[in-house]
């Protein structure tokens, strides 16, 4: 075989915690690569600090290190595991940077580790701005006029030479962090200052602005023999100026003639050939809309978000093939797993249209600036496939789960045409809707085009959708032809019903009578040229069905979790995938339905059948009608899947595991209260309300502070702590932006210790792998809290009560499968605050650190197995002999204007783990993994709200003791000084300089501890927190977090870090020494 000699142990670096710009796509790519390596008999050593990933499973890699991704830690792992090679291009920018550092320092060579795939030189040439520009010049490929600057003066001088606007791109950053477009001197100075600081090498590229050009991407592959192919090209609906991660993207390109398509394809191949890339690569182009002029924007010599999208859009497994290429195979030797007949040296031909829409977090950060720029803001994305563009767009829109099923939105009623035209200038996530509105008002295509620079072809497609809305509205009678056409364009029944003034059911009945039903087509990489077996399907309404529904086997449908968003992340994909595997082990045919292109669950070889479809009742019903599954599993797909329960039952699909009534009982306040009362379990007193008036009454009866939240939500969406009537009024208005079908809960807020468990229940027995304790007091969302396993400060007695309550609750709710319960321990009493009879965010974390595969167990329990039969002792599992601390990770620097202070509504995008034998080391590792790397200057700022001031004194004293200079706002400084902790008072922002702001902008501050006053959004606190985040200063908004960080700092120098292979953990114990 042509496989490279001497490769047996491969180290694969993951991408770390999920942040904006670096998300689930790397778990997908890494998992695929690991499986591909193992297929070749390699031993895989995996390092990733993110425990919610599938790649960190012992089924995927042989050795698994959930350790901070730093050079030091990797060096330790290399010394311990002695891999012979390292695959750096699967872990995104983070992985690549680490691989580079290890290679450049000579460490790899010293330890006989070969860099697989792309070489360090290639990475340098592609990623170093100047090197890249020089290379492009050498091979005659055009780049935008640009200059790399290391200070603001040079940047301004160059911009003034080439003329504004200019684009600023910091070298070596994630998701275009710190970049932007500057239209004048003031803007360039601001963006440059930020970008220079964020760049790993302190460099920013100042570049000619090509905003408004077409943005086109090519995903290309090259093997060591120099064979180059294109997997797919993609056209951004949003022209250059919006980060491709925030753009609506269509594959393949739609408005390029063959001349343009081939010109850019040839260029992409020349570039990867010159770079000598071996593996996958992404090349981004800007194409002038009215000439053949083009510019190479960027090259990513690794798998990327775009490559994940391209893989899903075409069926071509880029990461898998890249891994094989890294081992020395050539493209013509690697079979195309989809067709089984062709080879990887083949360019996919699509016979459908793919649309990707980003999932933006503005529903979570309602104060954040919604403008889309070259800095990515999306947390996730959805993809859809259809035989026409309009249909693909409609499917993608509803896949977002943002209360939008068509292009018609009420919010523009009452706007003047001038206001609509003016709004067209605003580039944000609502642009497509305002374009639709403009078309509705008869604003000419070219007016829209000239403002937005969006190609007329796309505008016309939007118009076709608007015309359909109008036709439906105007129709005296819904004719079969009109209905057929509306369905071809993927109008949901409910939307059609709305326009024609009927009920959804009427439309549905009419469809079935007329035989207008969805047909399913296969994604086969080859436009039907070759017979393929791969069961990867999408629906359309204008063709014949080619999917055989009946295979004779018993089958189970697993509903996925849709786009990654704050509060519903990669962990639910982990659960879905594990459930599929477990069900498959039990001999069932598995069907997965999901619409997220970044995930492992939508890889074509995870389930027996993959339906890439929106997760709405109607779309799921189409699949159910064809497949007739024997059951559906909803408890692993987060709220997205849970929401489908009722619809599935109506379709006659049995819900496996905990029944729908019991899921409801956990959410329904009255039913739940009955159960609690019956079990004798206390919970903070509370009431259910619908209106603001009711909420005010409830709050005053309970006494402030109270917790306000809608029911049936995940991630504490819309949850707030209210301390006054003003707060209640404000929060209720936010919650009631959308019609609430379920009541809103108002609860007494207890500021105790928060404890959380996940358990498997088989109807009789429960199995709790471990108890997790939050570092932050109740009031901060569990997803945003530092979580410690095993719980440290909970007495035996309390633990017993927790196990007892868990058992009682699981039994009373007749839980079959997983249950997640959050408790508050307040004055040595245990209160239940939340029960979720389904999988939770902590499931992968607790599974990994205890070695108890609870999703697999739950899946088997759902099928009727008993915990005892599965080889586990019911009850609370034995405590492990080490600690695992989960640290939340935030992406605040990506979201201008977002409030960073923590509260009951979740804000973190990801998490990492610190695992060690001692608490201090685990904590230190957790902070390290989250990128909190202190100290640098040993200067910090304290600004503490009155209630916390006393408590802050001790924390400040300890910071002082480890050598920190403390600056503080006047009130805080007074209290600290009075208590003998020297603090330098600093002026507030609106006072005379130097103020807190000047201090921050001086880049001398390591840390800000700011405990926000409720509702201080318009005051200093907010400004300070934002400025801290935007200048790269760590900012803590809870004294508990500050205390934890202190502990870690106080002990960090103590000992050398250890590394733990978690693949050796089983039942909480490490089976080998580590």
């Amino acid at each position: 075989m042509p496989k490279l000699e001497g490769i047996k142990r491969v180290l694969v670096i993951g991408s770390g915690p999920i942040i904006i710009g670096q998300a689930a796509e790397f778990d997908y790519a890494g998992t695929q690569a690991c499986r591909s390596l193992k297929e070749e008999g390699m031993e895989v050593i995996l390092v990733n600090s993110n425990p919610a990933t599938i790649m960190t499973d012992k089924e995927i890699a042989d050795k698994v290190y959930i350790e901070p991704l730093t050079v030091e830690v990797l060096q330790k792992i290399i010394e311990k595991e002695k891999p012979d090679s390292l695959l750096p291009n699967m872990g995104g920018q983070a992985g690549l940077n680490l691989g580079m550092e290890l290679a450049e320092s000579g460490f790899l060579e010293e330890h006989g580790v070969k860099l697989l795939g792309t070489t360090a030189e290639t990475i340098r040439n592609a990623e170093g701005r100047q090197e890249f520009k020089d290379m492009m010049e050498r091979i005659g490929e055009p780049c935008a006029a640009s200059e790399l600057v290391e200070n603001i003066e040079d940047g301004v001088a160059f911009a003034e030479k080439i003329g504004y606007p200019v684009v600023l791109r910091p070298a070596y950053t994630l998701g275009g962090s710190g970049g932007g477009i500057a239209h004048n001197r003031e803007e360039i100075e601001e963006i440059l200052a930020n970008g220079l600081r964020l760049s790993r090498v302190g460099q920013v590229l100042v570049e000619r602005c090509i905003a408004g050009w077409k943005e086109i991407e090519y995903e290309v592959m090259r093997d060591s023999n120099g064979t180059c192919i294109t997997v797919c090209n993609m056209e951004n609906l949003d022209p250059v100026g919006v980060h491709t991660g925030d753009s609506i993207v269509v594959a393949p390109s739609q408005t390029l003639s063959d001349k343009e398509y081939q010109m850019l394809r040839t260029s992409a191949l020349r570039i990867i050939d010159e770079l000598k890339i071996t593996g996958g690569c992404n090349v981004q182009f800007a194409l002038h809309p009215t000439s053949f002029e083009y510019i190479v924007i960027e090259v990513n010599p690794r798998v990327s978000r775009s490559s994940a999208l391209a893989s899903k859009a075409t069926g071509y497994p880029i990461a898998k093939v890249s891994a094989k290429i890294a081992l020395g195979y050539t493209l013509d030797e690697i079979p195309n797993a989809v067709t089984g007949k062709t080879y990887a040296s083949f360019e996919p031909a699509l016979d459908y249209v793919v649309v990707k829409i980003p999932r933006l977090p503005f529903d979570k950060f309602i104060k954040a600036k919604r403008t889309l720029t070259t800095q990515m803001k999306a947390t996730g994305e959805v993809m859809s496939i259809c035989t026409n563009f309009e249909g693909a767009l409609m499917k993608a829109l509803r896949s977002l789960e943002q209360h939008v099923d068509c292009l018609n939105r009420d919010e523009y009623i009452g706007w003047t045409d001038e206001e609509v035209t003016e709004q067209l200038h605003v580039i944000d996530d609502r642009r497509i809707f305002i374009i639709a509105e403009a078309i509705r008002r008869g604003i000419a295509y070219n007016v829209i085009h000239e403002i937005t620079m969006i190609d007329i072809w796309f505008i016309d497609k939007i118009s076709i959708l608007v015309e359909m809305e109008q036709k439906l509205q105007a129709a005296d009678e819904l004719t079969p032809e009109l209905l057929r056409e509306a369905k071809r364009l993927e109008f949901p029944d409910a939307v059609i019903a709305g326009f024609v003034g009927k009920e959804e059911k009427d439309i549905r009945d009419m469809r079935y009578q007329l035989g207008i039903t969805a047909a399913f087509k296969m994604v086969d990489t080859c436009a039907a040229e070759f017979a393929s077996e791969t069961p990867y399907y999408y629906s359309c309404f204008d063709g014949s069905n080619e999917v055989a529904g009946n295979t004779g086997k018993k089958k189970i449908m697993v509903l996925g979790s849709g786009p990654i968003r704050i509060g519903q992340g990669i962990e639910f994909d982990y659960c879905s995938v594990h459930s599929v595997w477990a069900l498959s082990q039990e001999g069932y045919e598995t069907i997965i339905v999901n619409n997220n292109p970044e995930t492992v669950s939508t890889d074509f070889d995870i389930a027996d059948k993959l339906y890439f479809e929106p997760l709405t009742p109607e779309d799921v019903e189409n699949i159910v009608r064809l497949e007739n599954p024997d059951g559906a599993v909803v408890q692993f797909g987060g709220q997205t899947a849970i929401k489908l329960t009722e619809a599935l039952l109506k379709m006659g699909v049995p819900i496996l595991g905990t029944s729908a009534e019991n899921v409801d009982a956990a959410e329904d306040r009255e039913l739940f209260d009955e159960i609690l009362e019956k079990c004798g379990i206390p919970r903070p007193s509370g009431q259910t309300v619908f209106t603001t008036e009711e909420a005010l009454r409830a709050a005053n009866e309970l006494g402030y502070p109270v917790l306000v939240r809608p029911s049936y939500v995940l991630g504490g969406q819309g949850m707030q702590i209210a301390v006054s009537d003003t707060d209640i009024t404000e929060y209720m208005a936010v919650i009631n932006r959308y019609h609430q079908e379920h009541p809103i809960l108002v609860d007494k807020y207890l500021m105790g210790k928060e404890v959380e468990i996940d358990a498997v229940c088989d109807g009789e027995d429960i199995l709790i792998p471990g108890i997790m304790e939050h570092v932050e007091r109740a009031g901060i969302h569990s997803g945003d809290s530092i979580s410690v396993y095993p719980a440290q400060s909970i007495s035996e007695q309390i633990q017993k009560i927790i196990v007892d309550y868990t058992k009682k609750l699981a039994q009373s709710l007749h839980v079959i499968g997983l249950i997640n319960i959050q408790f508050i321990v307040y004055e040595e009493k245990v209160y239940v605050i939340e029960v979720n009879p389904r999988s939770s965010r902590t499931v992968p974390y607790i599974s990994k650190v205890t070695g108890i595969p609870i999703v697999d167990l739950a899946s088997k329990v759902i099928l009727g197995a008993k915990i005892k039969e599965l080889g586990y002792q019911p009850g609370l599992a034995q405590k492990s002999d080490y600690l695992a601390i989960k640290m939340p990770v935030f992406s605040f620097e990506k979201l201008r204007g977002a409030e960073i202070s923590l509260g009951p509504e979740m804000k973190s995008t990801g998490e990492c783990l610190g695992i060690a034998k001692s608490f201090d080391e685990a904590l230190y590792k957790a902070f390290l993994g989250a990128g909190v790397n202190l100290p640098k200057h040993k200067k910090m700022i304290f600004t503490i709200k009155d209630e916390d001031k006393e408590e802050a004194v001790d924390i400040a004293r300890r910071f002082k003791k480890i050598g920190y200079d403390i600056f503080a706002t006047r009130g805080t400084a007074r209290v600290l000084n009075k208590n003998g902790v020297l603090a330098i008072p600093v002026n507030r922002i609106n006072e005379e300089a130097p103020t807190l702001m000047d201090l921050l902008l001086d880049h001398q501050i390591d840390l800000v501890v700011d405990t926000p006053t409720y509702g201080d959004k318009l005051r200093d606190g907010f400004m300070i927190r934002r400025t801290a985040i935007e200048t790269g200063v760590n900012c803590l908004t809870s004294l508990d977090t500050a205390d934890a960080l202190l502990k870690s700092l106080e002990n960090s120098a103590a000992e050398e870090l250890s590394v733990v292979d978690i693949a050796t953990i089983s039942n909480g114990q490490i089976s080998e020494d580590c």
């Binding site: 393949p252 390029l256 063959d258 031909a349 204008d542």
Partner: protein, 371 residues
């Protein structure tokens, strides 16, 4: 676009009927139905003379998106008997677009059908092999009467139809090629050439004389060209007996010969190899061909329904140069002891990738030209 959409029907030899909308010229036609998997380049496909005698189905569903850019035409007109698409764009958008595809089809008298499930059609052709079919707007046609007619239909005499009628001369700078002083002379034997074959030669500093397919070898040899190019073209190669005879003479003349597609098949036939009709051919812009000398794979543009039988090649006469990575069919031959090289795919691309355009450099090397 007309206001009233007329229904159209595609009736296949096996009795399958697809109902869609009429596009292009409104006339009835019987033809051989083939499919092309290129996602761009519909105009190049429509103007490729190799499609004469066939009706082309585009597997990509959205066709006509960038309108018609006349300078992209690969010959003077559209050749297919009919055009079959899922959706014809109502709003072409491209800075070079001069016309709509609908109007182009009408002007070129090409009928067609849209709004049908082209994937289902493609699967049928893949499973049953290329079939004949009829496109009609007449609802009253009787299937029983039509089917025998469909079975009978044969594509014949298409090379004569597409080839130029008299000798044509081109110099660098013509047909949007690079202007440069010519230092070589190439004779092009036109059995259905695409413009870009000629353009690729002009771009490399060659004067080009194009001979019709009725050429006499001696006449070409007497003109002392530095090299001879035999082009692509339509139809069954074995039918072109007279051309094959003349090509044999060219091959033995000692003048370097390069042949593409139909030219490649005719050259093989001239050396007693055989060709056969493939089940459904290779038509698209994504076919991998492997250079057996370097092991390098190129993605190529292809359009052929017939192929040279690899087992019929006398190993003393020619050896395989390229093979298709997918089905291992022969994609190129090098003749032994003669300066003759031929490829089945299209190094001139249009539509499709330009990866193998470097074969024109190979040809230039054969004739001792510059570059």
């Amino acid at each position: 676009m007309g206001n009233l959409i007329m229904k159209a029907f595609l009736i296949l030899e096996d009795g399958t009927v697809f109902q869609g909308d009429s596009i292009g010229a409104q006339k009835e036609v019987i033809s051989e139905i083939v499919f092309n998997t290129s996602m761009t380049g519909y105009l190049e496909v429509l103007t490729d003379p190799s499609y004469a005698g066939q009706a082309v189905t585009m597997t990509y569903p959205l066709i006509g998106n960038y309108g018609v850019c006349y300078e992209d035409m690969e010959s003077c007109k559209g050749w297919p008997d009919a055009f079959i698409v899922r959706e014809l764009s109502r709003m072409p958008s491209n800075f070079r677009s001069e016309d709509t595809l609908q109007h182009f089809l009408e002007k070129n008298d090409i009928p067609g059908i849209s709004g049908i499930d082209t994937r289902a059609l493609t699967k049928l052709l893949r499973e049953k092999g290329t079939m004949n079919g009829m496109i009609t707007t007449n609802r009253n046609d009787s299937i029983e009467e039509i089917l025998p007619k469909l079975k009978e239909y044969r594509v014949t005499g298409v090379v004569e139809k597409v080839s130029c009628k008299t000798i044509e001369n081109y110099a660098p700078g013509d047909i949007q090629s690079k202007k440069a002083p010519a230092d070589k002379k190439i004779a092009v034997i036109d059995v259905g050439t695409k413009k870009n074959i000629i353009r690729c030669l002009l771009n490399r500093g060659c004067d080009v004389t194009v001979y019709p397919c009725t050429f006499k070898a001696q006449e070409v040899i007497d003109a002392h060209p530095d090299g001879i190019m035999i082009t692509n073209g339509p139809g069954d190669p074995a039918e072109c007996t007279q051309i094959i005879e003349q090509i044999k003479l060219l091959a033995d003349s000692g003048i370097p010969v390069f042949a593409i597609c139909l030219g490649h098949q005719l050259m093989a036939l001239a050396h007693h190899a055989k060709t056969y009709k493939m089940k459904y051919g290779h038509r698209g812009a994504n076919h991998p061909v492997k250079d057996l000398k370097t092991g390098k794979v190129y993605i190529s543009s292809q359009n052929h329904g017939y192929v040279v039988d690899i087992d019929s090649i006398d190993p003393n006469v020619a050896k395989p140069w390229f093979i298709n990575v997918n089905d291992k069919t022969v994609e190129g031959l090098e003749y032994i002891g003669k300066p003759v090289k031929t490829v089945q795919f299209h190094p001139e691309a249009n539509a499709g990738p330009k990866d193998s355009e470097l074969l024109f450099e190979e040809f230039m090397k054969m004739i001792g030209g510059k570059r």
